[in-house]
Symmetry: C2
Subunit: 341 residues, 2 copies
């Protein structure tokens, strides 16, 4: 059996126990169709298969390739592409999958593209305050009628309160989520349909309107979400090898850099250490506690360190595989098979 210390680095490592804890906690809070796990956070059908085993049959995808890969893995019972797609070839590929595929639309152009490609179902994507996709709530009913006129089944509405999910003050998160969902409810009144799809890991337990929550990060977690005090554990690290140390400078360098980490939320973390900066293939860091002699504590060259990404999603997208560990043992290797577009 391979152990952590034998892995070529940098390597994505998933703690099997923490992942299982997270999946079980979400399935208990939002059983079955109440959660529609977002695969963009892990891009790995092996993780989705575990989420399916916990009772969630529907999944959220951000890209056509994610949906195509999910269908190929036999996980296409109910796939929501929660994003606007204009590409005729990709839309046609989605329309021809042996899977139930629903796409988000927010304009006449996206309705036209979906209908022309032969898609059969859509949801109206509604802007609830995040300056991104989604029609104005007052336009949703008219667009739903247009979609129906073009032969699309309209399953309901979606709206992502992405500007709210990361608010660390829980009371404020509750208040603002409710305000966003009032907008979505207004659209849903005009659109109809059984789905009110919204939310994320940060609002999974405070969104009172959504019939289903599009949570993704809860499975693996990251530093940003770690600050919210949610009942999910950090399950994903990048294991790196110390390749150089500098006694005079008091720092060490490990082989996990900008091409192994999503950096939009800033530097990663190393337990008990301060991260100085990352380069393409390096992270420079120093331990916070001094060594036994009162000088800088330094790891040995060759030692392994766990690097905790600030943001999971763009971290995972750099890697070809995840190594699932129990203690020091690598018990499974999962291809990150939903990368790209």
């Amino acid at each position: 059996m391979t152990t952590l210390s034998e892995l070529g680095t940098p390597a994505l490592v998933v703690d099997a126990g923490a992942l299982e804890h997270n999946l079980a906690a979400m399935a208990a809070a939002l059983p079955g169709p109440r959660c529609r796990p977002h695969v963009k956070a892990h891009k790995t059908t092996a993780v989705a298969r575990r989420q399916r085993a916990h009772g969630h049959a529907g999944f959220t995808c951000a890209t056509p390739r994610e949906a195509i890969g999910m269908a190929a893995a036999g996980l296409g019972e109910d796939l929501l592409v929660a994003n606007e797609v204009l590409d005729p070839q990709r839309l046609e590929a989605l329309a021809h999958l042996d899977a139930r595929v629903t796409v988000a639309v927010d304009s006449e152009a996206t309705i036209e593209a979906a209908a022309r490609a032969g898609l059969r179902e859509c949801v109206l994507d509604v802007n609830v305050g995040l300056p991104r996709c989604g029609c104005a709530p007052e336009d949703a009913g008219r667009l739903a009628d247009e979609a129906r006129r073009r032969g699309l089944g309209v399953r309901g509405v979606m709206g992502y309160e992405g500007h709210v999910v990361g608010l660390t003050d829980r009371a404020e998160r509750i208040r603002q989520t409710a305000a966003c969902m009032a907008e979505l409810a207004r659209a849903h009144d005009d659109v109809g349909g059984e789905l009110v799809s919204a939310g994320g890991t940060g609002t999974y337990d405070v969104n009172e309107l959504a019939t289903e929550i599009q949570a993704g990060s809860y499975a693996l977690m990251d530093l940003a979400y770690g600050e919210l005090g949610l009942p999910f554990r950090r399950a994903l690290s990048v294991v790196a090898t110390v390749i150089s140390t500098n006694l005079a400078g008091g720092y060490a360098v490990a082989d996990c850099g900008l091409k192994a980490l999503g950096m939009d939320h800033g530097n990663p973390a190393i337990d008990g250490a301060t991260v100085w900066f990352c380069s393409d293939e390096h992270v420079t860091f120093s331990y916070d506690d001094p060594g036994a002699d009162g000088g800088a504590r330094l790891p040995s060259v060759g030692e392994r360190v766990a690097v905790w990404p600030a943001h999971i999603d763009p971290t995972v997208a750099y890697h070809e595989r995840m190594h699932v560990t129990e203690g020091e043992n690598v018990v499974e290797v999962w291809p990150v098979d939903l990368r790209g577009w």
Copy 2:
């Protein structure tokens, strides 16, 4: 022939004319062995092959996989892995390539690992001020002796003034580069050898000591280097499709996000526009000039926009291929075949 408007997006696009201009400008300034192009900036053997055609036979690599891929592409005449590697399997793979491979060492542990794996040549990596890898200048001679004792040929020294290459004040860049190179010269006096390998795109014309410059970014350029007033043109963009617009908000959304862009240097740029923020698969932006009616100018849904990455290297590492364009035509497609470790 495919045109830009037919590409599935997001897609890496290389302007053939700008790339050729950049390669020619560098080959004129630093002909043949005076430049050892760093492949980490493009991770694409097709680009390296053009650099070879411009007269540069030696290349710099950051990872074993880059060197292995270069050798497989017949570009292994003189490969410098300018980074410390401890992994025995990868070092053995390097030792068995049909290529001349030189590795960087900066400690007894890295010398031991290289010698044990059967590598034949090294350079001493010397710290010249950037808190990253590299031995202290005063330790270089002793470590070189140790490397020779372990049977490694010592080709010289390398030292990267990475904290200086981005200084926008040219006089300050010159002054600090000279100070760094004084450290490297001190080490070289003790180490010997024909190579003094240093520098990057930001110091290619101000580093007076190095026998060869490890420039990478000059080929494709990015926003950060674009501020230095160098004679290289931006050659790499990510073409994206506008998937949503919001008239009331005055913004548009295109399908190029955190998984298509290196974000450590911040947001990308769109000509004539202000980028608001990026999400996993989106960039939200607004045009700076108003529309004809005095309201917000908005693109049409389906329109293409060029997104200029803040930092090339970690951008390229997300993509499977580059599309080479002349005007609107895609004239070649190059696999980004040196990704990973």
